[in-house]
């Protein structure tokens, strides 16, 4: 029987695990916490698909075109065609496992408009689509757990992959209960660990998604891709600890952006882009808000109470609870914030990385979204990618017998043990806060060569001292050992942004504002003995 190790139990990880189990594999599904804690539950807006009940004039070809255009033409056409062509089946699959979509009075699924789309094609479950899908998938995983084909292991953290000669044989995991490293061998390893939020600290996402795994695998030889493309969601609400997402569905339902000038409202997006201006792609809206230099608000007070209750209740609740704002009467103060990472582990069409039998799915993989992701495409990509990886790894021949990694494990355990003898009270969180300050200052919406270079100087300094400082061991071992990988991901991201002397999608260089044909390719970055090498994927090896 094929043994599969899936690391991460959000939507992409669960979709992959279930698909593998359906094909007779035995899956070990590993995560520190249960799926209910994953960032997937926060996906609010919906999932894109063109079905038989589509809007007049819509087609799969339009969905493909919108996705490629939204991604500024560097997403792979074959990859995006696969994603969009199967969207109808993906939606049908979700319904078949019991996802409850919002329906109209005749019982037909409702659709809403999302930014950058030529037609209304976003299906949704109120404003907690991600949570509803997670609930349905958890039931499916439970079914396979009962049958013995999926084994969930909680309180386990990824430490490193077991790689020899470019082939992956499993992973070392940190077991919180045993307080030690355990090797798990598998025919294939699937990374489904989410994006790189910790690079910026305060984002719209989960604090558990930190970019460590991508960085650690990068240091082990995996290629990363498109790291300069970081989506700033235009409408987020400031709170003490994080930025809370105000879903794009608010603008899809008619919400209007404005700022005030001499007491007059200026609907700047509509003024510049016409009636659909509020629903331009996220990169465009974020840049326009940034360019106003003013406090920007999102108004839905004119929408009916019934519509808000039925479709945007969670938004109403969040605004009231965290800022005391009544959206029926007051506009919502919004500002752009880091929301999604289009970059991540470079994967081929089958979602395999450059390391044989090491796959990546969901936000930790760079695929489909190019330079800017369309709303409603992330849930779709998580589900589709998980299933593509599963089908590929299940169809391939069994892996050769794994080499002996006992010495690797012992070496890594010794390093952890040595670090745990520290009596220091200096927390690794301070170093992460400094990194976040650097990334916010130098890797924000507007970037320049000078600023990015300074960012690299800062991160190189953190890297130079990070290994020499003893950290407070009263926090979890994972929090301490993950720092080096997080810093590596940050270094690689700044390197990509510095190398791309043009502006495209979410990567806006104010010192190089033009979009140049010479750069119309994905960016790849590799690590070799301290060197971060960046080049363009002109052969389209990683996303055709």
């Amino acid at each position: 029987m094929k043994e599969v190790l899936v690391i991460g139990s959000g939507i992409a990880g669960m979709a992959c695990a279930v698909r593998c189990a359906e094909q007779g594999a035995h899956v070990t599904l590993v995560s520190p916490y249960p799926s209910e804690r994953s960032q997937s539950v926060m996906a609010a807006g919906g999932i894109n698909a063109v079905t038989e009940q589509c809007e007049d004039g819509d087609s799969v070809a339009s969905h493909i075109e919108d996705t490629l255009k939204g991604g500024c033409w560097i997403g792979g056409k074959d990859a995006v065609t696969g994603l969009c062509s199967s969207a109808k089946d993906t939606l049908a699959y979700l319904e078949s496992i019991g996802t409850v979509f919002s329906l109209d009075q005749e019982g037909r699924p409702l659709r809403r408009a999302f930014g950058g789309q030529s037609h209304k094609r976003t299906y949704f479950c109120g404003s907690s689509t991600g949570k509803q899908i997670v609930s349905a998938l958890v039931m499916e995983v439970r079914r396979h757990e009962a049958a013995g084909s999926i084994e969930r292991r909680l309180r386990m953290h990824f430490h490193s992959a077991l790689i020899e000669s470019g082939e992956c044989y499993g992973a070392l995991l940190y077991d919180e209960q045993a307080r030690g490293l355990v090797p798990v061998y598998a025919s294939a390893v699937v990374m489904a660990v989410g994006g790189q939020n910790a690079l910026f600290s305060k984002t719209t996402g989960s604090v558990l998604c930190d970019g460590y795994a991508a960085g650690r695998l990068f240091l082990q030889g995996a290629l990363l891709k498109n790291l300069e493309f970081i989506q700033f969601h235009p409408t987020t609400l400031e709170t003490d600890q994080k930025r809370i997402l105000i879903t794009e569905a608010v603008r899809g339902e008619g919400g209007r952006l404005f700022y005030e000038d001499d007491g007059q409202r200026v609907y700047f997006m509509e003024d510049k882009y016409g009636p659909k201006g509020n629903l331009m792609t996220r990169d465009v809206v974020s840049r326009e808000i940034y360019a106003t230099g003013k406090n920007v608000f999102l108004d839905i007070s004119f929408l009916s109470d019934r519509l808000i209750s039925q479709r945007l209740q969670e938004v109403r609740d969040l605004c009231r609870k965290y800022r005391g704002i009544d959206v029926s009467k007051q506009p919502i103060p919004v500002a752009p914030s880091v929301h999604f990472f289009m970059g991540g582990l470079a994967v081929h069409l089958n979602h395999e990385t450059n390391i044989e039998r090491l796959y990546a799915v969901g936000e930790c993989a760079s695929m489909y979204h190019g330079a800017n992701r369309l709303g409603g495409n992330s849930l779709l990509a998580a589900l589709y990618g998980g299933r593509v990886a599963a089908d590929d790894l299940c169809a391939r021949e069994d892996a050769p017998r794994h080499p002996d990694f006992a010495r690797t494990r012992a070496r890594e355990q010794r390093l952890l043990d040595a670090a745990s003898e520290s009596k220091s009270v200096f927390p690794v969180a301070y170093m992460r806060d400094m990194l976040a300050d650097t990334m916010r200052a130098h890797m924000g919406i507007a970037r320049t060569e000078e600023s990015l270079t300074q960012g690299l100087v800062d991160v190189e300094y953190y890297q130079s001292v990070a290994g020499q400082i003893n950290y407070d061991t009263s926090v979890s071992a994972y929090e301490n050992y993950s720092l080096a990988g997080i810093l590596a991901t940050a270094h690689a991201s700044l390197s990509c942004a510095l190398a791309q002397r043009e502006s495209r999608g979410s990567h806006w260089r104010s010192d190089a504002p033009q979009t140049l044909d010479d750069y119309a390719y994905a960016t790849l970055v590799s690590y070799n003995d301290g060197a971060y090498n960046v080049w363009l994927d002109k052969e389209r090896e990683y996303e055709s």
Binding site: E36, R37, Q132, R143, A146, S206, V207, Y430, D433, S476
Partner: protein, 223 residues
Amino acid sequence: MKVRILRQESPTSEQYWESFEYDGPQDASVAGMLDHLNYSDDIVNDAGQKTRRIAWECSCLQGACGACAMVINGMPALACDTFLKDLEGNEVVLRPLTKFPVIRDLAVDRTSIHHNLKRCDVYIGAYQPLGNQSFSHQYDAAKCLKCGLCLEICPNYTNGNSFFGAVFANDCYLVYARNRQKSRDIKKVYAHHFGNTCSKSLTCMDVCPMDIPTIASMAKLNR
């Protein structure tokens, strides 16, 4: 503001109380307060002694994941969803949920919730929806965070060995509504592990962060 926290270094060590002086923002959530205590400076207790950082779980920090469930001034609640300005008195008292084994300080092991759902085969399987079921209630029931607050407040729930609480009832309802072939069996399981024992205090609904009307699940399954 004084903060008292019931602490425990490891699953097998003794619990003890430790107090802190909080001088951070007064409009913070309890989660914000914990971050402030942990990382504003070296962490010291109110006697000025250096101490361990306070362990607690978090993920979304906006009331959508259930990680930070704990007992706040005697009430089970989410730390990110509870604000200092809404608490009475000048003292904040935090303790871990009492019905789960403590991992460290305010972090508890809630594996039993998932274990009980798994061992009773609470899954949908083939989707064959029962007619006339409210989509609105299915939607609500599927929002369960598995945070354990409903179990903490429940007068009938002790350790999850036989009575499994509201979290179990709502998942049972989803199976009942979505697979008519399993509806009869799931009602039996529900009755055995919930319906026959529940004394209907309904406190579970008072503390549910997602406002799930568990009584509606019960009404369907008790029929």
